[in-house]
Symmetry: C2
Subunit: 402 residues, 2 copies
């Protein structure tokens, strides 16, 4: 596995800090917000006699509560359709290990979350990318493009919805088309929906688990990390109505004994977080998203689709190469002793050469910091010696509708 | 992966409980003892603002403290030789993923901890067993046997020291012979030393990390679970001076973001557990081991080597098949409304047909419970319809010396 373009920049950011600069970290999906009091209180006050292994699929009480949670979202599952995992990371590795033999293929729209590459390497699975484009807000590529990529080694299609890194929310129609496709070719449909509660449009969220007649195909990957500002818990879940997959995943789960004890306690308690807490988190991210999408689109030569969900936005910048530009921001740029760290989009594309004019921005800082960071970016784009106008794309519908 | 003989028995144990029997669970390595006050207090009182991802290799403060801990054990490593993992489970999978391609082979003395099979399946590695025997206390098989198994696909040798399930402690000479072997054939030497503090003999523990000239070959797998009665934390470590392995493992570590937050806080604090606490734990396990080995060897037809370490003992029982016997204990046996759950040893052997006359007993209950359980076992062996005398083995040196 090559080092990602994001990670290559971290030493430059550290040097900039040593040089006395304030660096706004907008490169990773680590929210800056606190967990709910309910979550914290469970950690502090749950009685502990023995710190033991839990059930390998996770505590039954937690799984039952999660099943109730999903039922309220019109995802009809029982507790024994749910395996608690060590983060969504482990859920994805279980899913790949259950569904694939070494060398099998999973089709994935790109750009995609760069860490999926690591899970694929660890499980000897090949990711086959299908390129989505900023020109139509990173919507699902045509189904015909998927069909062209299907081979005898193809085991499934993997989406992240709403999407990291693009912020795109797949429509019900897009999900239904994928459902028809996986049934037609007898494939699995994996959906990473860890950002589900962060959708900023009226359009209702539609999960792959709501597809009719796809029970044997669909697998939901979920996590407490983003929804409850609890990344460090390392608590995720693999959810499917396919009994064979559950049984096979249980064997991998048993091999690693159990998910973390305190993480499960906190994760279960997080489900009881108050409406007020959840609304405040949502409102905060929505304000940031509104702010940052507007700020980006006001900059000369910058295009940013209005992300419908997550806390990321992709932006096309008028530069020769965002890897160079992001490094230059850290090494050469200075605005009132401030600069920023962004994620060059090349790390999110598997197809070589793509993403060179795009960055992903994670809005994981408060509005004041974001404003300073966007001021820096606007100025930097004027000063950057490698500035290069990018051919204007036809239309970005969400921007016009924003 | 087939279901293990241990797991097949669990439903029978649950039925026995529903039928009103007391079942002594001696089947798994889940200690019944509490964590130290130091560990608990850290969970309760460490300030938390944001539950964030840690460094992918684990918190630097924890790794530095661990390096100091190892130095006291004459294992000279720096903090950047250490990756904190989600249990030893993850450390083993990182190690296999770093060192092996799909289809590569790892040689392992059997009987071995059954979960290694799961890690091998998850990483597409083949375990090649070399049989050790109860006749000589499960000592290391002759090096010539290892040499016979080495092929072009062999990437390493894996030991657990002291050994789960046998309780055997490899001698310094045995470790040195393995060191010479891996150097000769340019292999990795993986050593799972999670039970290191539970050694009941005067013979000093000798780690693979103390071998001279083997820095590029050796990898230590460790865990806080057993040492500090904290299985549920899911905190382990992969330790090696081989920089290439550290760098590759870091990529897998980065893909899964970080080990658990609260587990790391507790794991770091556990290193400060008082001598008094650690001594009490040690004394408790030593008393149990002394009791159970004596009790077993007093039973007619039973042979149990005096386990030198861990909290397991293997015993040869005068029965036709321990899988059948262990099930019969739960379904047909009853002594004052009590029975016991043991682990048939067949699950610890990869070679088909081995272990049929052996069980592993985990002494994870207090002496009074163990006494009741051994009373049950003695009586059961008299009543069991499939009783069968096993050809007496020549000599079991540790028993005579016990």
């Amino acid at each position: 596995m090559p080092a990602s373009p994001i990670r290559k920049l971290v030493p430059f950011a550290e040097q900039a800090i040593r040089d006395g600069k304030k660096v706004y970290y907008l490169n990773i999906g680590q929210p800056d917000l606190p967990p709910s009091d309910t979550t914290l209180s469970a950690i502090r006050n749950t009685p502990i006699d023995v710190i033991e292994y839990s059930h390998s699929a996770g505590n039954v009480s937690y799984r039952k509560k999660l099943a109730d949670y999903y039922k309220k979202l019109e995802i009809d599952v029982e507790f024994d359709n749910i395996l608690i995992t060590t983060g969504a990371s482990e859920a994805i590795m279980f899913a790949f290990n259950c569904c694939c033999n070494p060398g099998d293929e999973i089709i994935m729209p790109e750009p995609f979350y760069a860490n999926y590459n690591g899970f694929a390497t660890a499980t000897d699975v090949n990711i086959v990318p299908i390129t989505s484009s900023i020109e139509n807000n990173f919507a699902l590529p045509p189904i015909s493009e998927f069909e062209k990529k299907i081979t005898s080694k193809t085991k499934g299609i993997f989406i992240c919805n709403p999407n990291n890194p693009t912020g795109y929310l797949y429509s019900r129609r897009e999900i239904e088309m994928l459902g028809e496709l996986v049934k037609k070719y007898n494939l699995y449909l994996f959906s990473d929906e860890v950002y589900r509660t962060l959708c900023y449009v009226d359009e209702p969220f539609f999960s792959v688990m709501q597809l009719k007649g796809c029970d044997q195909n669909t697998m939901l990957i979920d996590s407490a990390s983003k929804r409850y500002n609890a990344c460090g818990l390392r608590i995720g879940a693999l959810i499917t109505r396919n009994r064979e997959i559950v049984d096979t995943a249980m064997k991998f789960a048993q091999a690693r004994l159990s998910p973390p004890h305190f993480g499960q306690i906190a994760g279960e308690a997080a489900l009881d977080s108050s409406e007020d807490y959840l609304n405040r988190i949502f409102d905060e991210f929505k304000s940031r998203r509104d702010f940052i999408v507007s700020a980006l689109n006001r900059m000369d030569g910058v295009i940013a689709p209005a992300a419908k969900g997550t806390f990321y936005v992709m932006a096309q910048l008028p530069v020769d190469d965002t890897e160079k530009f992001c490094q230059w921001l850290l090494t050469d740029f200075n605005h009132k002793q401030q600069t920023l760290l962004l994620a060059p989009a090349s790390g999110f594309y598997k197809t070589a050469g793509l993403g060179r004019h795009e960055v992903r921005i994670a809005y994981v800082l408060g509005i004041n910091d974001l404003r300073n960071a966007m001021d820096c970016l606007e100025l930097a784009l004027k000063q950057y010696p490698g500035r290069k106008e990018i051919k204007r794309v036809k239309s970005i519908s969400s921007v016009s509708g924003f």
